[in-house]
């Protein structure tokens, strides 16, 4: 075969062309890019916590209690002389883990259920709809607390509780998507061609739901992170001596007068992490929506 002539333009396949378009549209949105960068930064910091944090999360230095920020302790120390910055870095592990895993678990539960309800309809749809309503009728906090009471408070149980809390909304969304997608022409053609249900779901329905699901996942993660903080704040999630942003806030509430910064920093971390995922999610939603022009 002769050498490749660079003047000949290469025809990209449909899928590759779409990906490039998505990437271009995404890069035109500074907020979304910022969101992506910051979210990734948080994840990287969480993974490489031992490297990033200067101190261990439970290393107490009783000679420096409630110290103000300094060169030695970037964000100061808490009531037990532990370095706040390091605790935030280590705490990000629990918080982000809870957020991401709860969302993944919720999707793993919700998407198949929603798909079944939306695609097959029949008798299964009203049953699932009623069950979803029941799940929604309970304040999510109660479910979390019940789990804590039955299984014991821990990060794992908090994650499960958060997943259960997030699932109903995701069920509704996947159901809606499946419902509208099954009316599409290509699905009808596939049915007419005798394709099996599994094949249709796998090849036609699911891939087209993907963009909605990705957007939903990016917006569910911050809600789950905040949820973990709430649960740990109430003593139902991460237990001492392990740390998470919620635990730090709970410890800090007794020192609001002397050292409000102890509550400010972890809360700021939660806020920025949340904001970055929300910006990312919003940007993705705009980019993947065929109706937006830029």
């Amino acid at each position: 075969m002769s050498a490749i002539d660079p003047s000949v333009s290469i025809e990209l396949t449909g899928r590759a062309r779409r990906r490039r378009l998505v990437r271009k549209r995404f890069l035109r949105r500074p907020f979304a890019v910022a969101g992506l960068v910051v979210a990734l930064a948080f994840i990287v910091v969480a993974i490489f916590a031992p490297v990033v944090a200067p101190y261990a999360p439970d290393a107490s230095d009783f000679s420096q209690i409630l110290a103000k920020p300094s060169a030695e302790h970037l964000l100061g120390t808490d009531e037990l002389g532990r370095d706040v910055f390091s605790r935030i870095v280590w705490g990000s592990r629990a918080s982000i883990q809870a957020g991401v895993f709860a969302t993944l678990l919720a999707m793993a539960i919700a998407v198949p259920i929603g798909l079944a309800a939306g695609y097959y309809r029949g008798w299964i749809d009203p049953v699932i709809a009623r069950l979803t309503d029941v799940m929604l009728a309970f304040p999510f906090l109660i479910i979390a607390v019940a789990l804590a009471a039955i299984l014991g408070p821990s990060l794992r149980n908090a994650t499960i509780a958060l997943a259960i809390g997030a699932a109903p909304a995701l069920i509704r969304i996947s159901r809606g998507e499946a419902l509208s997608l099954r009316e599409e022409d290509y699905v009808r053609a596939a049915i007419a061609n005798g394709a099996s249900d599994v094949r249709i779901l796998r090849r036609h329905v699911l891939p087209n739901m993907l963009s909605t699901l990705i957007v939903q996942a990016t917006v569910t993660i911050p809600a789950a992170i905040i949820g973990e903080a709430v649960l740990s704040f109430l003593g139902l999630g991460v237990q001492s001596p392990a740390t998470s942003w919620g635990v730090m806030l709970s410890d800090a509430k007794d020192y609001l007068g002397e050292a409000p910064r102890l509550a400010f920093y972890p809360g700021m971390a939660i806020f920025l992490c949340s904001l970055s995922f929300n910006l990312l999610g919003d940007g993705l939603r705009d980019v993947l929506d065929p109706r937006t022009t830029r």
């Binding site: 907020f31 704040f233 109430l234 509430k253 949340s274 919003d282």
Partner: protein
Amino acid sequence: MGGFLLRKLGAALVVLVISSMLVFLGVRALPGDPATALGAENRDPAVMAAVRSKYGLDDPLPIQYLHWAGLAVRGDLGTDQRELSVAETIVDRIPITLELAGLSILIGALIGLPAGIIAAYRRGKPEDYAATTGALVGLSVPHFWLGLMMISLFAVHLDWLPAGGYVPFSEDPAANLQHMLMPAIVLGTGLSAVLMRQMRSSMLGSLSADYVRTARAKGLPERTVVLKHALRNSLITVTTVLGLQLGALISGAVITEQIFVIPGFGRLTIDAINQRDYTLLQGVVLVAAAGYVVVNLTVDVMYSVLNPRIRVSSKPA
């Protein structure tokens, strides 16, 4: 219309019944002897026996459930650990949380709705970006952190507002509002963000609709076009969103009441859990679930009243 209402009512009842069963089973699923959970922390056999017979714990489960449900429907939710009537405690506390919720909705609507309208009307302009970014910030802020920060600033450092506690409105309206202001702002911020986004997206749809073009072509002043015509249709969606957010508001109230030490329904939930007062918890969760079902039902019905298309399209084919 009648058939539609009946179907919605039926669905709501089904949800209510299943929820009550879950509550009932939940308490019985907790580790340990239900007799201990339901009344007697002491192991005195006589007391245990009394508790057993009072709650019929030796009867088969379905009988127990029916017995409990029967009492609940008549308003008897039992007595809690301190020998107080659960129903009475709940009835005392609910108005406080409702006041908090009401004030939060007021603040949320006062900020969020105009912001959404302006953002839609001035789409793409600086006002839109400012409002949209503000909404995103409002959604991302953990509201209990906001509460802690506000207490630190306004109560501890500036001493402008009380850090917590509650004064009944009937006793001292001014003090009551002073105590409720920060909690209501905390809850209202998140709500205003949701409302703003909903209003904006709904108004964007209305403003580009044909009837708005007609109104403009007729020469109506711009203010009338926006406020009288476009707004009216958006209000429908926004009202339903508001109704659905009520659930989130109540959950948010749980933490907010905890932080600001307000003796409301949310705080009751936490207290019941901390004190392992399962009779109280049973009653509280049941009431919360029932309340949610009722609100949802009302929202559904209202939506169909305001939007006739929903009534028609949901008829079974």
